[in-house]
């Protein structure tokens, strides 16, 4: 890739490798991230002027930190494996989709499908998330400081969704084994999703999640837990009204 298109931080006290998307292309950014090898000392990255670009920092598989200075479009951090991404702005649909490990923090709001099908890692949304947050989640942990929209955690298989605000309609519809913790009100629960007892192990788990997400001044006891009633796990014609 042409070196002239890359801009390294000039100041010696700033070790980040800086990509300005006004100057470099998305392809160059992602290729440079994919070219990283284990043990690379290029561990701090900064992305300037994303201006809603799609697919920023997708498929990163090294433990580097990436600060994105602005808002991003679709699929930021998609399939992330081990990197720490902070978006200093808002995120479009599908942020952190199918994340494997590492973490993504959105300082603003997130659009639809945040953390969809995520297998692992931590997704923190400091603002609100839209509909279908955590849809089909498969092991990811998601912490939303604000509210989430309707159909969140639809067909969620495993992992934890923590919401400090309110949840929209049909929360946890057709949920499998994921755990949902909501501090505010829930407009309605989806099929086979029920409120569950908050036992000591859940309080402990939730405290750990809040700590990892940098949430302070909030007690786990303020949340309600929701999960699967497991009545739809095997088909039965007598449950036909639920379909």
């Amino acid at each position: 890739m042409p070196a002239t298109k890359l801009s390294k931080a000039a100041a010696s006290d700033h070790a980040s490798r800086v990509f300005d998307l006004d100057v470099s292309s998305l392809r160059e950014l992602n290729q440079a991230l994919h070219n990283l090898t284990p043990g690379s000392n290029e561990t701090a990255w900064e992305v300037l002027h994303p201006k809603g670009s799609h697919s920023v920092a997708v498929g990163v598989d090294q433990p580097v930190s990436i600060d994105v200075r602005g808002s991003v479009g679709y699929y930021c951090g998609g399939m992330n494996s081990g990197s720490t991404i902070i978006v200093h702005g808002s995120a479009g649909p599908g942020v952190g989709e199918n994340m494997m490990s590492g973490s993504i923090t959105i300082k603003g709001d997130a659009s639809q499908y945040a953390g969809a099908t995520g297998k692992g890692g931590l997704l923190v949304i400091e603002g609100n998330a839209s509909s279908r947050c955590g849809i089909s989640m498969k092991g990811i942990d998601i912490v939303v400081h604000g509210n989430i929209g309707h159909m969140s955690a639809f067909m969620a298989q495993s992992g934890n969704l923590v919401v400090l605000g309110d949840a929209g309609d049909a929360l946890g519809d057709s949920i499998y084994e994921a755990r949902l913790f909501v501090r505010g009100k829930v407009d309605s629960l989806g099929a086979d999703c029920i409120a569950k007892e908050m036992r000591p192990e859940h309080l402990e788990l939730l405290q750990g999640l809040l700590d990892r997400a940098g949430v302070t001044g909030v007690k786990p006891s303020e949340f309600k837990r929701y999960g699967s009633a497991r009545t739809l796990y095997n088909f039965n014609i007598d449950n036909a009204d639920a379909y």
């Binding site: 998305l26 392809r27 992602n30 290729q31 994919h34 799609h54 697919s55 997708v58 498929g59 598989d61 479009g73 679709y74 699929y75 998609g78 399939m79 494996s81 649909p93 599908g94 989709e97 199918n98 494997m100 639809q112 499908y113 969809a116 099908t117 297998k119 279908r132 849809i135 089909s136 498969k138 092991g139 639809f154 067909m155 298989q157 495993s158 057709s174 499998y176 084994e177 796990y233 095997n234 088909f235 039965n236 014609i237 007598d238």
Partner: protein
């Protein structure tokens, strides 16, 4: 002597035939619709309704067994740095681990590699059996995203975004709990023993504009190296093909309603979608209208059985075909050698379709460790390779007779139809006439 009217012969209803009556009784007794695999079984207009016009005076044939007839095809040359290069235009369609046993997946990989073609993963993720034994492996990107991970995405040779399937356009899947082994449960991140519902739509995008962005993401993740296929069920082939091209697909896969499936409602399999034959010309027309025919490759699947089917599909404008059910038969599924066991299951060899129950005597559509041992991956792979090569030879034989030195030089002009229906669907003349129903408005 009293006169008695002669008795009439009992007559069963054509509408309420024996099968229909049995289905009504079964539904009433069980409270669930019939779930099965194996694709549509009803008779549909198909490739059998077309005939080739071999060369005489107006066309000049090539010598069989002497003059070369090229069979190779390149898939994904539109954007990908590393297109798929196949020796034959017949690929193995996606079939999931979980639905199929590990040895069966290995056999598919071995057979396809021997024949110079690709295999495809399925809803259950990528297994070492198929990656290790498939020289070229297409990794399906499915709504369920079971087992989807970065490593496997990058180990694939191509990525197939599955939007629909011929046996069930618009439908999801259901793998019943009894078939969920520890390994299948782990790959799918779900508890053992529960019914596993595969989603009917992708969780993180909706319309065609989103698909374009999703494809961009997949290209970025894989550094623009791998071809991106988009697979649709054969329902609205013109518009779905056009939108897939617009979204950036390198290859469009159209799966007609004779396409197989592992476990779907019988009523869905038999009543949703269009016959494979009816899907080809609209899909080709879409590519031609966009100026992308042969630039974006078209794969058709659903009921391909022999070299004549292959040749006819290619003549109608596709670049390659895919086989699923036929490949399983080549491996040994529904083989009469297991007839006694098929009988115990209440069926017969050739009709066994309860693949979701996991009791396949042939050891192919099962996770039962004892039954799986019946599949020798080396021998079954050899049978599949033989079958693929025979299909290719058959197609070449026909193509040479039509004067073509490449299978891809076959054209609609080489075909006529036996029925008005097939003539209309394929857009070729009814045999003995120059009439193409629907052309020029009549």
């Amino acid at each position: 002597m009293t006169y008695r009217n002669p008795p009439t012969t009992p007559r069963k209803s054509a509408t309420f035939d024996d099968y229909t009556l049995s289905e009504i009784r079964r539904a009433a007794a069980t409270g669930i619709y019939d779930i099965r695999g194996a694709g549509a079984k009803r008779k549909l207009p198909h490739f059998d309704d077309l005939l080739f016009l071999g060369a005489s005076i107006s066309r000049y044939p090539l010598e069989g067994y002497r003059e070369r007839c090229d069979t190779s095809v390149v898939l994904g040359s539109r954007h990908a740095k590393k297109p798929i290069e196949l020796k034959i235009p017949i690929t193995i369609a996606g079939m999931s681990f979980g639905s199929l046993s590990g040895p069966a997946k290995e056999a598919l990989g071995r057979g396809a590699t021997l024949a110079g073609t690709s295999t495809t993963t399925g809803d259950g993720g990528m297994t070492e059996e198929e990656r290790g034994h498939s020289k070229q492996l297409v990794y399906q990107y499915l709504p369920s995203r079971y087992g989807m991970n970065l490593r496997d995405l990058r180990r694939a040779d191509a990525i197939e975004v599955v939007v629909g399937q011929g046996a069930k356009p618009g439908g999801g899947g259901m793998l019943l709990g009894q078939k969920i082994s520890d390994r299948v449960a782990e790959m799918r991140t779900l508890p053992k023993g529960i019914d596993q519902r595969s989603a009917s739509r992708h969780p993180d995008w909706t319309g065609p504009d989103d698909l374009e962005i999703k494809i961009l993401e997949l290209r970025e993740i894989t550094d623009w190296e791998k071809p991106i296929y988009v697979k649709v069920g054969g329902a609205r082939p013109y518009y779905d093909t056009a939108l897939a091209v617009k979204a950036g697909a390198d290859v469009v896969v159209v799966d007609g309603m004779q396409g197989g499936t592992a476990a779907t409602q019988e009523v869905f399999i038999e009543n949703v979608g269009q016959p494979t034959l009816a899907c080809i010309r609209p899909a080709v027309q879409a590519l031609q209208d966009l100026g992308m025919h042969r630039k974006v490759q078209l794969i058709i699947s659903g009921g391909i059985r022999n070299g004549a089917d292959v040749a006819k599909a290619l003549a109608l404008g596709v670049d390659a075909v895919s086989i699923g059910t036929a490949a399983l038969v080549a491996l040994g599924d529904n083989d009469p050698r297991w007839e006694a066991e098929y009988n115990e299951l209440g069926t017969t060899a050739g009709a066994y379709d309860d693949w979701h129950e996991g009791r396949d005597p042939a050891g192919i559509t099962t996770q039962d460790p004892e039954l799986m041992k019946r599949v020798d991956p080396v021998a079954a792979g050899r049978r599949l390779a033989n079958y693929l090569k025979v299909m290719t030879l058959e197609a070449q034989t026909i193509a040479r007779a039509c004067g073509k030195n490449s299978l891809h030089n076959l054209e609609p002009e080489d075909l006529v139809a036996l029925t008005i229906e097939a003539a209309a669907m394929a857009g070729v003349p009814l045999a003995g006439t120059n009439w193409i129903p629907g052309k020029n408005g009549f």
